[in-house]
């Protein structure tokens, strides 16, 4: 497959992010997460709230300090101590788009100052005229116009604000953008605008995305590969078409069957896998496989042993004992 030959842009290995919450309680928001992102692709990361997908994104871009593991960007370690110059050049390569279009823009700043922030910090414009030219250009790139530059964020709608957020990220010409639920706060018709814009920008500028969301249908649409997270672990990772057509992990299967489809006939005839119960607390996750408490196929081994991260098919990784051939042959022998 083409994936193998492609150049790795970002490598995440055994990434851990733990938060101390009170005495002796540790919230393992991200626990041993590993994945690669190839140049020019979009990797989707889905999961329910509290599964650690946003924390993963924020840890990669150094908003949180990782508890363990490492992140390599173009062969260079992202974490650990760095000189100011290294950090700055890193900040120009990797950018982020945030979830809440109302909280992600400073209400006291005009749009031109918000967009030009990266230009100012990195000194990308020689003079004021050049700075404004860049701002106008960026505004037009995201489908707004010059007249908007001197206005304040509260005058814009959610979709427009989100595009301003994209323009701010683009101002420093990044290669890699982490989009942290960029569309979940937007209306359906506006979501499509933002997603189309992101895909257009990817084509034009060769961007690489990590697209974090809980909306599986949108993730499938925009992503080349998709990773599914549950309670701080990645449970399955595959090409998006393959994942949606043949999900292997029981959690992925349940998640996919739970999405309501805008088609009444399909809805009437569909058999859902309804998961019992709720997400366990990430402070004291279940032993062994974390999904076992809600899994319809749970076995004895699931409680005692953490499932291995294995390639069940080419390019299709899953962490589930059901697909562990060694284990299954062992069982048969017994």
């Amino acid at each position: 497959m083409a994936v193998v030959e492609r150049e790795k842009l970002l490598e995440v290995k055994n990434l851990k992010k733990h938060f101390n919450v009170g005495k002796n309680a540790v919230l393992k928001a991200v626990d041993n997460v590993s994945f690669d992102i190839y140049k020019g692709e979009t990797l989707g990361l889905v999961g329910e709230s509290g599964c650690g997908k946003s924390t993963t994104g924020r840890t990669i871009i150094r908003l949180y300090e990782a508890t363990g593991g490492n992140v390599t960007f173009e062969g260079k370690d992202v974490h650990g101590k760095k000189s100011r110059k290294d950090l700055k050049s890193f900040n120009r390569r990797m950018q982020m788009i945030f979830q809440d279009p109302y909280a992600s823009l400073n209400p006291r700043m005009t749009i031109k100052d918000i967009i030009a922030e990266g230009i100012d910090i990195h000194g990308l414009a020689k003079n004021d005229k050049e700075r404004m030219e860049r701002v106008y250009e960026l505004l037009e790139t995201v489908g707004l116009n010059r007249a908007h530059a001197s206005r304040y964020p509260h005058e814009f709608s959610g979709g427009q604000r989100q595009r301003i957020g994209i323009a701010r990220a683009l101002a420093v010409d990044p290669d890699f953008i982490i989009a942290d639920e960029p569309i979940s706060a937007l209306d359906v018709s506006i979501q499509a605008q933002v997603v189309n814009l992101m895909m257009k920008l990817q084509k034009e500028r060769g961007l690489t995305y990590l697209f974090i969301a809980h909306d599986l249908s949108m993730v499938k649409h925009i992503s080349d590969r998709v990773g599914v997270m549950y309670l701080g672990n990645i449970v399955e990772l595959a090409e998006s078409d393959e994942l949606y057509e043949e999900p292997l992990h029981p959690y992925t299967q349940a998640l996919l069957s739970a999405i309501p489809v805008p088609d009444p006939e399909v809805e009437r005839s569909r058999e859902r896998i309804i998961l019992e119960g709720d997400l366990p607390s990430p402070i004291s996750p279940p032993s062994g496989c974390r999904f076992r408490t809600r899994c319809p196929h749970a076995m004895d081994v699931c409680a005692s042993k953490e499932p291995k991260w294995l390639e069940a098919r080419e390019g299709h990784w899953v962490a589930c004992h059901l697909y562990d051939n060694e284990l299954n042959t062992e069982n048969k022998q017994q």
Partner: protein, 339 residues
């Protein structure tokens, strides 16, 4: 009488510093006994305001129902006194809100909160109310209701809390249940549980449901009829099948085609350009005209009439006028075709 609830030409306005915001403009709706009707629209389309005006939950100081009548079993709710309205609220018509966290009182046990309405509206004794509360919790699928009735909301998870909210809403056997984005704050797997529960309950109790949502998937799952709202007006209404398989209004086309389909090949999504109209100065003509790819000159200044496609399917669009050019909906809007 078939219609339990009827809205005739309802207009609701908010008074703000900048002027009058016409949030709902001439809405006509009816709800039949035991059916489930969905009101779909984006934020600011007026769907929540419509539902709150039925419950008379809009702030009295800043808003008013300017025109029209809301008939509940023949009585005009807009003319009732606050006292009379209190009797209807919670017992005849009840409501579920989006966020289960804020719609429960954190300092009261769940049981007390369910019993509150029962004792107020139905004059049950304490023991009777408790028994009924346990039955209600059982009905909404909460395990060990005898024990959990004494617990506080924070001891329940998000999905369980929404079940409790539903139990409270159903406590007095209401004839109409208004659910305002009941699953939006929940995760997909929990949403599926709640949708299942609501469908189940509707069959068991025969309560008519008004579902307010922006999610067409939820609509397809739960409701028999749909009303699509845009810019404070209803642009299309019909049975769920009619609206999904034979949509007539360009906005409905836009909504259906801007959702990616899980089982279709990657294509560019059909986005609706622009943003919804500002209801401070609502457009004179069709509210969707400014974003409509098929807009004609007539649309800008003239509000389209409601045209009957079938006896149940109505659309307010100039394209259905005989003088208008014939327009086919975009391929992406054809739900059946994409299947």
């Amino acid at each position: 009488m078939k219609n339990i609830l009827e809205l005739n030409n309802v207009n609701v306005s908010f008074h703000t510093f900048a002027g009058e915001v016409k949030a709902v403009r001439g809405v006509n709706l009816h709800l039949e006994k035991g059916e489930s009707l969905a009101i779909v629209g984006e934020s600011g389309s007026g769907k929540s305001v419509t539902s709150k005006s039925i419950m008379r939950l809009l702030p009295e100081k800043t808003s008013e129902i300017k025109e029209g009548e809301i008939l509940f079993e023949g009585r005009d709710l807009t003319k009732l006194s606050n006292r009379e309205m209190e009797k209807i609220r919670g017992s005849e018509i009840s409501m579920i809100f989006q966020d289960p966290m804020t719609s429960l009182n954190p300092t009261m046990t769940v049981g007390k909160q369910i019993m509150e309405g029962l004792r107020k509206h139905q004059n049950l004794s304490k023991n009777e109310a408790k028994e009924r509360a346990i039955n209600l919790l059982k009905l909404v699928g909460i395990p060990n209701p005898e024990l959990r009735i004494n617990e506080y909301p924070h001891q329940f998870s998000g999905g369980m809390r929404q079940r409790v909210v539903i139990a409270i809403a159903l406590a007095c056997n209401p004839k109409v249940l208004i659910a305002d984005e009941p699953t939006t704050a929940l995760d997909v797997t929990i949403q599926a549980q709640i949708l299942d529960l609501m469908r189940d309950l509707q069959q068991k109790t025969g309560t008519a449901i008004i579902l307010i949502t922006h999610d067409l998937g939820v609509v397809a799952n739960l409701s028999q009829r749909v009303a699509v709202m845009y810019g404070g007006t209803i642009v299309e209404t019909g049975t769920t099948d009619e609206v999904f398989y034979n949509p007539k209004h360009p906005y409905t086309w836009g909504l259906l085609s801007s959702m990616p389909k899980l089982n279709s090949a990657d294509k560019e999504l059909m986005a609706i350009p622009g943003t919804p109209p500002n209801l401070l100065n609502p457009p004179k003509g069709c509210p969707f005209a400014a974003r409509c790819p098929y807009a004609m000159q007539v649309c800008v200044d003239n509000m389209p009439d409601v045209t009957d496609v079938t006896s149940t399917h109505k659309t307010a669009c100039w394209l259905l006028d005989e003088r208008a050019p014939q327009v086919e909906p975009p391929e992406a809007a054809l739900v059946g075709g994409a299947r």
